[in-house]
């Protein structure tokens, strides 16, 4: 499997995400934000956490308009797989690849801690390594992770089984405890928690391994 990991100037989880892919056996190409095209032959694009362009405006708003942002949107439009974590999730919603928005945490504070999530669907390449209802612990680290969507949009997400993860104990005020959502074609995932911070015992847990392994495994067969 070949993964492209985007680096915006303010990305700070790009190395960590690349390592998550690499530990699962994937090849990783690092892509600079000023590039206008994605490398050929990639199976998935990773949009990492961080503060893309400082996020002084609205998190991810400028990244969504960047040169590489357009290439990522085109890639997804052609049916490509894209995973956005934390700031990556914010960027994917700003691009319109995923519905809803990430508002300020209900506490109005940045929150960093390990949280327990429930796998809400196993019906995606990303969650296929888990069973529906499995509890996994991933760290969160964000100021704007309060997932918000209109009633109609929420009903659609629920009706189409597109909620990937839910918080067991909602830390940020997200609607319906939503921690991660899938696109209509189930090939784009956005999530606030960091699976790449849970891939080695030294980090305190390995619940993220199944996500990266499933990706590497299914892509290898593709």
């Amino acid at each position: 499997m070949k993964a492209a990991v985007i680096t915006f100037p303010g990305s700070n989880c790009d190395r960590d995400l690349a390592r998550g892919f690499e530990l699962a056996g994937a090849d990783v190409v690092r892509v600079w934000h000023k590039d206008t095209d994605l490398p050929a032959g990639i199976d998935i694009v990773g949009v990492p956490g961080g503060f893309s362009y400082g996020d002084y405006l609205r998190c991810g708003a400028i990244a969504a308009q960047s040169p590489i942002g357009r290439a990522v949107r085109d890639f997804a439009g052609r049916g490509g797989h894209v995973i956005g974590i934390c700031n990556g999730f914010q960027i994917l919603t700003e691009m319109g690849l995923l519905p809803g928005a990430l508002m300020r945490n209900a506490s109005l504070k940045y929150i960093c801690k390990p949280v327990t999530l429930r796998v809400a669907t196993a019906d995606s390449i990303y969650t296929s390594g888990y069973a529906k209802g499995d509890e996994v612990v991933f760290p969160i680290a964000h100021h704007d992770g309060n997932y918000t969507i209109d009633a109609e949009g929420l009903a659609r997400l629920e009706g189409e089984d597109r909620v990937a993860f839910r918080y067991a104990d909602n830390p940020n005020g997200s609607m319906a405890d939503i921690a991660g959502v899938l696109s209509e074609n189930r090939r784009v995932l956005g999530m606030m928690p960091h699976p790449e911070r849970a891939v080695e015992q030294a980090q305190g847990g390995t619940d993220g391994v199944a996500l990266f392994r499933a990706l590497a495994g299914m892509m290898a067969g593709a």
Partner: protein, 720 residues
Amino acid sequence: MEEPKINPDLIAAHGLKPDEYDRILDIIGREPSFTELGIFSAMWNEHCSYKSSKKWLRTLHTTGPQVICGPGENAGVVDIGDGQAVVFKMESHNHPSYIEPHQGAATGVGGILRDVFTMGARPIAAMDALSFGLPSHPKTAHLVKGVVEGIGAYGNAFGVPNVGGEVRFHAAYNGNCLVNAFAAGLADADKIFYSAASGVGMPVVYLGAKTGRDGVGGATMASAEFDDTIEEKRPTVQVGDPFTEKCLLEACLELMASDSVISIQDMGAAGLTCSAVEMGDKGGLGIKLQLDAVPQREKNMTAYEMMLSESQERMLMVLKPEKEAEARAIFEKWDLDFAIVGETIAEDRFLILHGNEVKADLPLSKLSSSAPEYDRPWVETPAAKPFPGLPAITPIAALKALVGSPNHAHKGWVWEQYDTQVGADTVRRPGLGAGVVRVHGTEKALAFTSDVTPRYVRANPFEGGKQAVAEAWRNLTAVGATPLAATDNLNFGNPEKPEIMGQFVGAIKGIGEACRALDFPIVSGNVSLYNETDGTGILPTPTIGAVGLLATLDDLIAGAPGAGDQAVVIGETRGHLGQSALAYEAFGIEDGDAPPVDLATERRNGDFLRANRKLVKAASDLSDGGLALAAFEMAEAAGVGITLDAADIGFLFGEDQARYLVAVAATDLAALTAAAKTAGVPVALAGQFGGDTVKLGGDSASLAALRTLYRSAFAKAIEG
């Protein structure tokens, strides 16, 4: 633009004493220009010149086989084997944080990160030691919220994990909070960058963000006491931009890898002035700057303003001339300013040109080497009042008084606002003793801690200074690390008062003695004096930040015990309650002497723990709050109960030094006891972990109830 005329008021407004101004006249043989006066005031204020402290700082222990670079550069550099080095320092941003807590603290973090990456190291860990006034004081909640938010906003966006620190409250900080920021980075030992310029005619290059009027005179402000005009000082606080700092980090590391850099220095206090003088002075060269080339954020800036601006996220570099195109391309890639603003010159001159005018022409070497140095009068701190003893209290009531106090409550409210895991190498987050971060791509790890007990230092500066070092050394030991070296951030009141100077001298002597006895050199540091408001000084607070090495993660000792583990105290317990946390929190008693620190015993007991780490499942150092508090913290973290057999308050809450609490499997107890006997180390079985209650002698409470108190007390104190 016409510069103001020099007069006694203007001189005083620059923080220069009349005799210091006479010294300037002696050096240059004429009246200085306004810009020159500004340059002298920037170089000679306490913050930049260390004029009150230099004499005593020289007495510290700063060398050892592990030390690659000791004090005097931007940060200390210590060998961690395999051709790698850890680069670290701690620095205060006290005065700005009191005036504008969010930006003051944020730029403190930014400054210390730049100190580390200007030496070629990628930051891998940060800590913050914070001291505030009482939660009931009207300013405290505002300061705590702002400082914590500012630290988080900067460090989280920059992308450095925050792995430790301290938060304390005491009335002595009501008018003067302390924000001490620590950062550590990782570099190749043979690729460290220093500030000394070399070669004549080499381009001096300005890197990073543009220069504005923010922070003009900041270092001078930070060297004065506060009074009721404090609100007028707000414009001297700088504004931080962590996004630009992150770009500057990446651009600088790329630049350094391209072999373009002769020397490099971040622009911190007194910005362009300090950094240019430092590079010239260390290299024995002069510097010529053409200010028209300085990237400016605002129109019509004067030479004075540009030389004294403390705009953030800027660096000054001496460049290999043949590398200009390559270096410029790197900064353009990161959308940062890159401007040649001057050159090195052979004469001993600091020559500042703006337009067609010479704005300053000073003998460069005199700016730092001829800075005033004072042997300030000092008096020995008198012996502390005898400890009166404590009123009767039951063990559980005593424990509740501690865990329900904001000083000893769980600090998650603070550090959950910091990214503690970015970089994906954090092995141990804040909360229990030292933080631990893996050395990326290896099985090695580094441990970080910051410690001081200011009440001890006030009662007995010498023993208190020793204790701060010993506690840091113990915290590193308790996670299984070998202590490597330390940085000191010395926060005191007005050094012109002999009793304050006496605290400073006593603490330095204690720190020096402890560092020598423990082979634990001080490799960097910072002095913050004049922490006074309306004549009232802070508690003397010499914060010790320290770093230890785990050669392999297998050496790591956990913090949380398991049910059934035996609770064993390493070291001798005598029940010293003078200056204890219990006396202060339960009864408001701040009498008695600090606990004495026997450094040979410290060393012996710590070495014993490290040598026997395989027999130990979890460990904690014993410090303020004593055995009972440490046992509760370990049990609470693990979600198990604890039974301590003793009911004696001195045994449970005494703060005798050189002690650890360890959790030992029942089957290993005999082996540990035998090893202790051989090593001549006292060990005592104090109880067991397990169950769901906390029992101290015959007194008990449910773990759940105590946990609720422990986990809510901090937020309650700050948010009501």
